[in-house]
Amino acid sequence: MDYHSPASFAEASALAANATGTTRFLAGGTDVLVQLRSDLVTPDTLIDIKKIEGVSNIEQNADGSWTLGVAVTGAEMSEHTTLGQDWPGVVEAMDLIGSTQVQGRATLTGNLCNGSPAADSVPAMVAAGVTLTVTGPDGARTVAVEDIPTGPGKTSLAKGEVVSAVHIPARGENGGDAYLRFIPRTEMDIAVVGVGVNLRLDGDTITEARVCLGAVAPTVLLVEDCAKAIIGSTLDDTALEALAEAASAACNPIDDKRGTIAFRTEVAGVLAKRAAKIAYARAKGEKA
């Protein structure tokens, strides 16, 4: 295995483009090293991006949006004084991943590019409308998070492409987000269902919404029908029921020891309602 620690994303991209065999980018390593050690994926080329300048920065831009380096850890996000005020759902979703030790290393980009349909941070990022800069041999492009996963363990990134920055939109007025997941215990487990909700209000009425489901299909799902169910409403009982129905209808889950198809389908609806209520309360400025 060749190990490289390039000084720029252009160099990282060129290394990956010219490599033969299996290539992996190394950020926090909490998935890459597990796969390496268990002989699931043995990279021929490992490209550590942590020596690139700025990869650990969390910056708020003049327009209120945020730019996060791709090696920013969950612990750094949770400790940040204002990121979590703008985007509590995104920060909480990341914070649900693994132990304190894992939080010290794990990254949003790694969670996304590992390609697990149950990745906790991904539904929250999709709901928030997070986009990425992807650097490739032909330069950089901007991609929405929901366009990255294509199936379990698979992404749309081409050979030589590497995620080089994470962009979280400006929170703006009267907005709130939330992420909830179901696991059979209180900590240290993989989502059986995860739901991210992000919405904006005009008075009491929802004007914008994005609802994203995790762990109920081969990729996370941005469910248009869920958004439609609550846009224009005050999140009354009728809207909540319509939201739950739309969430359950979108599910196409696996049946395994952690959750049956019927269970995951029902819980997706339940969690969608609960997450929407939290996001709504946050948009109203309530602490929740």
Partner: protein, 159 residues
């Protein structure tokens, strides 16, 4: 396969080692530096027996490569006691009999010390969540939690 020359600080001392890029920090600590306090329980970041701090951040040394340690400051369980004088956490762990087989203990000590440095007055819930990544199959955790809470109280009184 070319080896990497790594210079890093472990428990305040500058150390150097040569490693294959596939070797984890845990492999390097144990096999090259003879620091066998950190244990390999699972090798997948689930059990916390290999816990160390890197630049003050609690991590699993099995989830980090040796080559990534270049230029870092690493603290292991070997650095917790001051010579023959045990750290208050170590004394309390003994007092409470908060260990049986001892495999998890180095990781618990490193993790608990890191908690108390960040938060000198943790609630029991915060302590339990912080240590959720440190598995112990012997004690049932209660004695460990009590030892950590009691140490925290003592350290607060002493400061």
């Amino acid at each position: 396969m070319s080896k990497f020359h790594v210079t890093t600080q472990v428990n305040g001392d500058e150390v150097e080692f040569l490693c294959d890029p596939r070797e984890t920090l845990l492999d390097c600590l144990r096999d090259k530096l003879n620091l066998t306090g950190a244990k390999e329980g699972c090798g997948t970041g689930d059990c916390g027996a290999c816990s160390v701090t890197v630049d003050g951040r609690l991590v699993c040394s099995c989830l980090m490569l040796g080559v990534e340690a270049e230029g870092k400051q690493i603290e292991t369980v070997e650095g917790i006691a001051d010579g023959d004088v045990l750290h208050p956490l170590q004394k309390k762990m003994i007092e409470y009999a908060a260990l049986q087989c001892g495999i998890c203990t180095p990781g618990i000590l490193v993790a608990a010390k890191s908690l108390l440095e960040k938060n000198p007055n943790p609630t029991e819930e915060e302590t339990r969540y912080w240590l959720a990544g440190n598995l112990c199959r012997c004690t049932g955790y209660d004695k460990i939690i009590r030892a950590v809470m009691d140490t925290a109280a003592d350290l607060r009184e002493a400061s």
